[in-house]
């Protein structure tokens, strides 16, 4: 947001703006700000039979940090999310590049439309379909067996972390393509011609001009895929068959299943802190890469 000159609350412009933003702002404060604050508060309180007890404590964080099960689930969530992000963004970049650089301008919106349609169809059904595709008696195995390529069902593709990653990479594909595409569209094409006129090869021009200029989109894509994936609840449930829980499933189990709000809240807060730290570290690394490229 550009910073305006009329910053005082008294100015009519500021007053009109605040008046207009008030309804959505109050909604967000009441239903997002307050609940999040409650979670942070609960994470420092003691669990009691009926809800929470008002005794401040750090025991919940101690439990979350020392119990191996939380660490194991957090690590699995991080690894799945990292793998999904890497695969999704690597697969998506060439598609975004193709649509931006090699598709006729009047055809671009059609391509974007085709890319986004699968994303708008029931998430639950899509996830379940991957289970059906990759399952032991699933579409791939039964298909390959009926044409005689294999005699035994492949087990390597069934309900494991790989299947989890595959399903999520499919689910978040458009999220990765769109931000990269938007940034690629803004790149001044004459810069690329200049690079080639100066004797750089096509690939070198891509590495030294296009890629650094499109990093903002790549960064957005990484964060937009990584953050929701880490908290995904449905896929581990359906694909993993409950055997591969991630941190979101643990949040639910603690909060609702075992009715332990303080420990559940501490898991939520820790997970959000870890995600925030990783995102910030990633942004810093990216800035460093871009600075290194300016020479």
């Amino acid at each position: 947001m550009a910073q305006g000159t009329a910053r005082s609350v008294a100015s009519p412009e500021a007053r009109s703006g605040l008046f207009l933003i008030a309804p959505p702002a109050f909604y967000a404060i009441l239903l997002l700000g307050a609940p999040m604050a409650t979670i942070v508060l609960f994470s420092f309180l003691t669990d009691a039979q009926s809800g929470v007890e008002w005794t401040p404590t750090l025991a919940n964080y101690y439990e979350v940090l020392t119990e191996p099960v939380y660490r194991a689930l957090m690590l699995r969530s991080l690894m799945v999310a990292a793998a999904v992000t890497l695969i999704t963004v690597l697969l998506a970049y060439p598609v975004a590049y193709f649509v931006s650089f090699h598709v006729r301008p009047d055809r671009k919106s059609l391509w974007l439309f085709l890319i986004t349609i699968p994303f708008w169809t029931s998430y639950i059904i899509r996830v379940f379909l991957w289970k059906v595709i990759l399952g032991y008696n699933g579409v791939i195995n039964s298909g390959l067996m009926s044409v005689g390529i294999i005699d035994e069902p492949l087990q390597a593709i069934n309900y494991n972390v790989g299947a989890l990653v595959m399903t999520l990479a499919h689910a978040y594909a458009p999220f990765a393509i769109l931000p990269i595409f938007v940034v690629l569209e803004k790149i001044d094409r004459s810069l690329l011609e200049a690079g080639q006129d100066l004797g750089e090869g096509k690939f070198r021009t891509f590495l030294r001009v296009t890629l650094p200029l499109s990093m903002a989109g790549v960064v957005a894509a990484v964060l937009i895929v990584f953050i929701p994936t880490i908290g995904d609840y449905v896929t581990p449930n359906l694909i993993g068959g409950g055997k591969l829980p991630m941190i979101a499933n643990m949040m639910e189990a603690k909060m609702l299943g075992q009715d332990n709000r303080p420990v559940g809240s501490a898991i939520v807060v820790m997970a959000m802190l870890i995600v925030a730290l990783i995102s910030i570290a990633f942004l810093v690394l990216n800035r460093r890469y871009l600075r290194g490229n300016q020479r």
């Binding site: 947001m1 550009a2 305006g4 609350v9 412009e13 500021a14 703006g17 605040l18 207009l20 933003i21 008030a22 959505p24 702002a25 909604y27 967000a28 239903l31 700000g33 307050a34 609940p35 999040m36 409650t38 979670i39 809800g51 060439p94 598609v95 193709f98 649509v99 650089f101 090699h102 301008p105 671009k108 919106s109 391509w111 890319i115 349609i117 699968p118 708008w120 169809t121 029931s122 639950i124 059904i125 379940f128 379909l129 059906v132 595709i133 579409v139 067996m145 009926s146 569209e185 094409r189 004459s190 953050i227 929701p228 908290g231 609840y233 449905v234 949040m251 709000r261 559940g264 939520v268």
Partner: protein, 268 residues
């Protein structure tokens, strides 16, 4: 510029995106309970079975109520936020908008858990109403994004001309601005509607015992015998989604064309 390799890759990638959806109709019309090859023959009995399930109609009714209310409220809140952020400068603008847009980058489970903790603590019973509360929260950022781009393409001088001709702020909004951003409003409504219809996590945690479409589908998947009927339902839902999206896209483009922009980018 020709790039046959890239083109082939992009088409292959589209196939990967569509693979599960192409399987939907194949197995919805397949005369077998087990979802596997070889196909057993053509049938429409799964569509009949789906149609005759009273639970489906109950869930669908709940979902339609929720999605309609959610899309209306979210679009209205989105209108306020988009107009405020594109037209005015005010204190704490970045942080207020940041909070409104925050659900976009929060895992849904976090939104659901923090809401349910508060709702239970203050004793609000879980129902359709609480699902609506949660869904408005997560759809408003989409409404803000769509409507902001609609307001951004708006020519400020049209508005000023109306003022000069003696219209009040309210009548200017009604007569000039509203018609121009109408396509944006419709596309925002449709997108929020689809998101709410499809959403599972909030609907399942904040819904209490009320079934909605997504939780109904999730529940049916536990019974292998019900799966083909759910795939039949999925086939119909995909068709409806495509029609709604095509309409939303058409309205969006018409809006941009109306405002004198062009839809194909690529700085040159």
């Amino acid at each position: 510029m020709k790039a046959p390799g890239l083109r082939a890759y992009a088409i292959f990638y589209l196939l990967f995106l569509y693979a599960p959806i192409l399987l939907l109709p194949i197995f919805a019309f397949n005369d077998a309970v087990v979802i596997a090859f070889p196909l057993e023959g053509f049938t429409t009995r799964w569509f009949v079975e789906m149609w005759e399930d009273p639970q489906l109609w109950n869930a669908l009714q709940n979902s339609l109520i929720i999605s309609t209310v959610v899309a209306s409220i979210a679009t209205l809140l989105g209108l306020f936020a988009a107009r405020a952020s594109t037209r005015y400068r005010f204190p704490a603008q970045t942080s207020i908008l940041g909070l409104i847009m925050l659900p976009l980058v929060l895992p849904e489970i976090v939104v659901a858990m923090s809401l349910i903790v508060v709702l239970v603590a203050i004793g609000i019973p879980l129902s359709i109403f609480t699902i609506i509360l949660g869904h408005v929260l997560i759809t408003t950022p989409f409404a803000v994004t769509i409507l902001s781009s609609a307001f951004q393409t708006l020519d400020r001088s049209l508005e000023e001309a109306a003022y000069d001709l003696g219209e009040s702020a309210a009548s200017t909004f009604r007569l000039i601005i509203l018609p121009l951003v109408m396509p944006g409003i419709i596309s925002s409504f449709l997108i929020c509607f689809i998101i709410s219809l499809d959403e599972y996590i909030i609907a399942s945690f904040l819904g209490g015992t009320q079934p909605v479409l997504s939780t109904y589908i999730f529940g049916q998947f536990r019974f292998p015998a019900k799966v083909p009927a759910v795939l039949a339902l999925g086939t119909i839902l995909v068709l409806i989604s495509i029609i709604l999206l095509a309409f939303a896209e058409y309205m969006r483009r018409r809006g941009i064309a109306k405002a004198g922009g062009n839809t194909s980018g690529g700085a040159r």
